[in-house]
């Protein structure tokens, strides 16, 4: 028995381009996923969560309050992020999913009417990077 036929040149070119796609997107800053930019993108980040209640009172929600509800990997990223801490790819990815954190905080306590989540980020030289802000009205 001989090996199967070789794929067409177009298929092989498509495979090669697919291998280049994620590193190229990472270099352009579109996504850190698949970038293989090993050790080069450390960021300092701080997560701040506030809740507003129906009576108008506002409170800060400590990050530790959401940790028991998270996966082990999420706990590693979120733990200690009340204060600036160092992270890499996962921190950038979590910053894109603040809606999920807001939804959890809403679901934790029915008295919450609005939840604000803020992720502050800076590079290792202390220069500010675009942060993320999210406001969610609890149903």
């Amino acid at each position: 028995m001989r090996a199967g036929r070789r794929p067409s040149d177009a298929a092989l070119l498509a495979a090669a381009l697919a291998m280049l796609a994620l590193p190229a997107l990472a270099a352009l800053g579109v996504t850190p996923v698949g970038g293989f930019r090993m050790f080069t993108e450390p960021v300092r980040y701080r997560l701040t969560i506030f809740e507003e209640r129906a009576d108008g009172a506002a409170y800060q929600v400590p990050v530790r309050a959401i940790l028991p509800h998270a996966t082990r990997d999420a706990r590693r990223v979120l733990q200690g992020s009340d204060r600036l801490r160092l992270g890499e790819t996962q921190a950038r990815l979590v910053a894109e999913r603040l809606d999920a954190i807001a939804a959890l905080v809403c679901a934790q306590d029915s008295r919450r009417r609005v939840v604000h989540v803020h992720m502050e980020m800076e590079d290792v030289a202390g220069a500010p990077l675009p942060g993320r802000d999210l406001e969610r009205r609890c149903e």
Partner: protein
Amino acid sequence: MRARWGALFAGEVDPLVYAALRIGVATLVLVRIADWTAPLLSLDHHGWVRGLDHAPSDDPAAAPALHMPLLGGLPSAHSTFAAALAWARAPLAVLVLLGLRPRPAALALGVSGYLLMALDASRYFHHLHLLWLSCGLVALTPCDARLSLWPRRLAGAPRWPLTLWRFQALVIYAAAGLAKLDPRWLDGTSLRAIAERYPFEGALWDAGLGAVGHAGMAIAIAAWELALVPLLAWRRTRLVGAALGLALHVVLDSTTMVSTFGASMALFLVTFLPWEVSRAPRPADRTAT
């Protein structure tokens, strides 16, 4: 141009290389997805993995659970779907290891791994991405012709999957090296910050730091990674490139936590050994010309 492109993928190689990649990748998966090796070895992932990694039963969360998928529309990381994926990986990896339907098993393994990773945005690691990508690449190879329980009779293995493995390795080294041509990396700022937060240790690290400092180490790592691309790409320097690549991963593995990344890359470096075979033309080949 087209002829040169075709020549990159034409020809045959020793099927042993595909069997070695299959066994290597399956072994890495079996080691990485759980902590069962903890009593025998001290591996990086034992620092955070308990039981079966990503299995909801071994990673419980209080209700309501944080649902933070990498892509919208995916089910919870604590769902039955997640549990099924987590538990499916071990038998799939065993099938790949033994060479029993290894190509569909490797493909299913890669898909399971990627899906589990995508169920939580905080689960992304480069070494896991590389592991599941390697499973996908194994699925392209005729990897059951050697060292499998029931070897498939195969007179020759095509070279094109090997070329794709090699190209992927070049992309990884190029991406890692080019990303380091950044002032914050080259002046040592990023490396210093990372070394303060994560464990960077060992005789090689101490000696390098003492000799050239963070900036010198950062430049050396960037130059090392970038040099591997031409060295591995050019046939005459491939063995030197593979040796230097292996040395890079030994240094990194002995210095900091990169989990299975170094071992995965070592498998990629194996593909740069001279696996090409020259075959005497068969009668059918002669009549065709």
